[in-house]
């Protein structure tokens, strides 16, 4: 279906990534946001707090990020599209209820505007070191979808995409901005509402007496019932059966948790998002994401001009990871160079997928700034030799 025009601020704007993310959420139909202030993400909720009262949304500043995430899960069970926004320290606190959202199969969006870590780290400066936490941060086995924009325009576009994917797969979708993208102001074009596709909540059409909240009906995810519609269903963070009732057994764990994992793994080809350039003849492929992808692209273009056969692959979805494509490329390229603002996280995934068929090296930056493009060029030269 098409976006409701109420929340869509159609036009060409000059917005920072945080504001663009907030606009994306409103365009996607988000009408509940709970958050707790934290640099460099606060502008997202500030934008929303200002705009929500005129478009039928409720924003609440909760007492902490534990509460923010819990409130988002609760609100989503009313069918109201819901989101929270944070940065590293708050993201750590949200892990608890991100796990609950995954277990209860609650559509919702969590935005993490990454700053340097660990701990309080660099509150006002860029980092990309939450990418493994985004994938593995809550305890237990589950799968999430993680998107990573490289510009304010993409922050707008991918926020809508995040809501849509969360509705389709009933998972928390995490949107990993970084401080640089969040705080940079660029042109953002917001289309007309009828040009924006949004996924509605997939409500069940069964009558309450036939409805079971976790019974599949020919699709990879169950149909949804909202609180207050007479279904009188139960849901829990405990391992549960199709009725949503806790069952403490090996068999139920296998059914319940395997499905949480498989609904994403089995559909990974649909969800994976990346773009690549110049990989056909490449000896080296540079892999990057977020703000680093822009800086790396400058380096790749420079290296190409210097005659090096270098290609480029930008991860748009970090998770699920494009493992098939990396594996395929590993058969034709000599090496991968992974450039990221951390001390080596996604490089591990590239190594895993390359599976020894190509060399893999990383160029890391501890955070607080972006890579020097010239240093990337040097690393490309080295990787190519």
């Amino acid at each position: 279906m098409k976006a409701d025009p109420t929340g869509v601020l159609t036009g060409a704007h000059y917005l920072d990534g945080d504001y663009a993310c907030g606009e994306g959420a409103m365009a996607a139909g988000c009408r509940f946001v709970a958050g707790y202030p934290i640099t460099p993400s606060t502008e997202v909720v500030e934008r929303i707090a200002r705009r929500f009262p005129t478009i039928g949304g409720t924003f609440i500043q909760m007492e902490d990020e534990l509460a923010s995430m819990a409130a988002v899960v609760g609100a989503s069970w009313t069918g109201t599209k819901s989101m929270t926004v944070t940065s590293g320290p708050g993201f750590s606190l949200m892990m608890e209820n991100i796990g609950l959202a995954a277990m209860m199969e609650t559509p919702c969006v969590v935005v993490d505007v990454q700053r340097g870590g660990p701990s309080t780290g660099l509150p006002t400066m860029v980092g990309q070191s939450d990418v493994m936490q985004a994938r593995w941060g809550s305890h237990g086995d589950y799968e999430v979808i993680v998107l990573c924009p490289q510009s304010p325009q993409e922050a707008f576009d991918l926020t809508i995409e995040a809501f849509n994917l969360s509705e389709i797969y009933r998972v928390p979708v995490l949107l990993l901005l970084d401080e640089c993208v969040g705080h940079m102001t660029e042109k953002v074009v917001i289309p007309e509402a009828q040009e924006i596709s949004v996924e509605p909540r997939r409500l069940t059409s069964k009558p309450p007496e036939e409805f079971e909240p976790y019974r599949l009906n020919g699709k990879p995810v169950p149909e949804f019932a909202r609180a207050g519609d007479g279904y009188r269903f139960h849901t829990t963070g405990l391992t549960h059966d199709e009725r949503g009732y806790p069952v403490m057994s090996v068999e139920c764990q296998e059914t319940c948790v395997r499905r949480l994992v498989d609904k994403i793994r089995d559909n990974a080809d649909e969800i994976v998002r990346f773009e690549e350039h110049d990989t056909e003849d490449a000896e080296v492929v540079v892999v990057a994401f977020g703000i680093t992808a822009r800086v790396a692209r400058l380096a790749v273009e420079t290296a190409r001009q210097r005659g090096i056969r270098v290609g480029f692959l930008r991860l748009i979805a970090l998770w699920p990871f494009p493992e098939k494509r990396i594996h395929e490329l590993a058969g034709s390229v000599g090496s991968f160079l992974v450039v990221e603002i951390n001390y080596g996280q996604m490089v591990l995934e590239v190594e895993r997928c390359a599976a020894g068929r190509a060399r893999v090296s990383g160029l890391f930056h501890g955070g607080g700034g972006v890579h020097d493009p010239e240093a990337i060029v040097e690393a490309i030269v080295e990787a190519a030799s």
Binding site: P53, G56, G57, T58, T80, P200, L203, T235
Partner: protein, 301 residues
């Protein structure tokens, strides 16, 4: 018995439990121990819903983790068994996401004021429209009898084997001083009064706390040599002191001391939603578009 029974006194047993419309009978028997007070509270809650004539389709119940946290799972309502300590913020999301819902939190002392203490005081401060039934058994039951923020001084727990030396919370005072609009305390013995209190609280709005002192025969009573569940009831009978309107500063609970019960606070004051509507209405006038009662932007697919 050899005599014939008076046929007028012979009644057919009911075909179903009187609480069956409110309970997920397929989940019974429940997990609670013999003599535990939680089942009593669930029954009082169900009775109050019936007496208040609530539209059960619009009632949601949220629990956290622990023995009391299982309450949501047995009620035939929209029921949410959230994470440990987060029942109140989860319920806040439900209420704000669909303002027409009657949202109840039923959970324990460890859940709501131990790990969840911060949420408890802030929800009371905001006067979020939630009814919170806090079942206080003075101990962490599900995990095996550890010290709680409500454990009376000197009482023994598995993590205070020599007796508790940490001062406990006075929950009615905590709630009242944080801004709750309705505060009452009863024990699991006071079935009718508790039911009335819940029924009354359903009729009120804002943050409503009903603290229910309940026995934990398996752990609290055993560790403190207080006898069975029945001894617990007898203790409540002998030591509960009903003092409506008592100053909440004076309702502390000491080990095996008197338990002051009653309705302590019943203030009509605006809820979070009412404050928000009024404020935005004043500032923004016609431009203010509140969240619709049935939730925001619901487009079924």
């Amino acid at each position: 018995m050899s005599e014939e029974m008076n046929p007028e006194l012979v009644r057919e047993p009911p075909m179903e439990h009187p609480m069956a419309p409110y309970l997920r009978m397929e989940r019974i028997p429940h997990v609670w121990c013999p003599g535990c007070g939680i089942g009593t509270v669930v029954q009082c809650y169900a009775t109050a819903l019936e007496k208040a004539g609530c539209d059960l389709d619009k009632v949601s119940v949220v629990s956290g983790i622990g023995c009391s946290g299982r309450a949501a799972g047995y009620m035939k309502l929209d029921g949410f068994h959230a994470t440990h300590g987060r029942a109140i913020p989860f319920a806040t999301g439900l209420k704000l996401g669909r303002p027409e819902l009657l949202v109840t939190v039923i959970s324990g002392d460890g859940d709501l004021v131990g790990i969840g203490g911060n949420h408890f005081i802030h929800a009371a401060r905001r006067n979020i429209d939630l009814m919170v039934i806090l079942i206080n058994n003075f101990i962490y039951g599900m995990t095996g009898g550890q010290n709680a923020p409500t454990t009376p001084l000197t009482a023994k727990t598995s993590t205070m084997p020599f007796g508790n030396f940490e001062p406990p919370f006075n929950l009615p005072h905590l709630a009242a001083s944080s801004g709750a609009s309705y505060v009452a305390r009863w024990t699991a013995l006071h079935i009718r009064r508790l039911t009335w209190a819940i029924e009354e609280a359903i009729d009120r709005k804002g943050f409503r706390l009903i603290e229910v002192i309940a026995p934990c025969p398996t752990l609290y009573s055993r560790l403190n040599k207080l006898g069975t569940g029945l001894s617990g009831m007898r203790f409540y009978h002998d030591n509960a002191e009903i003092r409506h309107g008592a100053d909440t500063r004076e309702v502390d609970i000491d080990f095996q001391s008197s338990i002051v019960c009653g309705k302590f606070v019943d203030d009509e004051k605006p809820t979070f939603n009412e404050l928000m509507d009024k404020h935005y209405g004043t500032i923004l006038g016609d431009r203010y578009k509140p969240m619709p009662p049935e939730g925001g932007m619901i487009h079924a697919g």
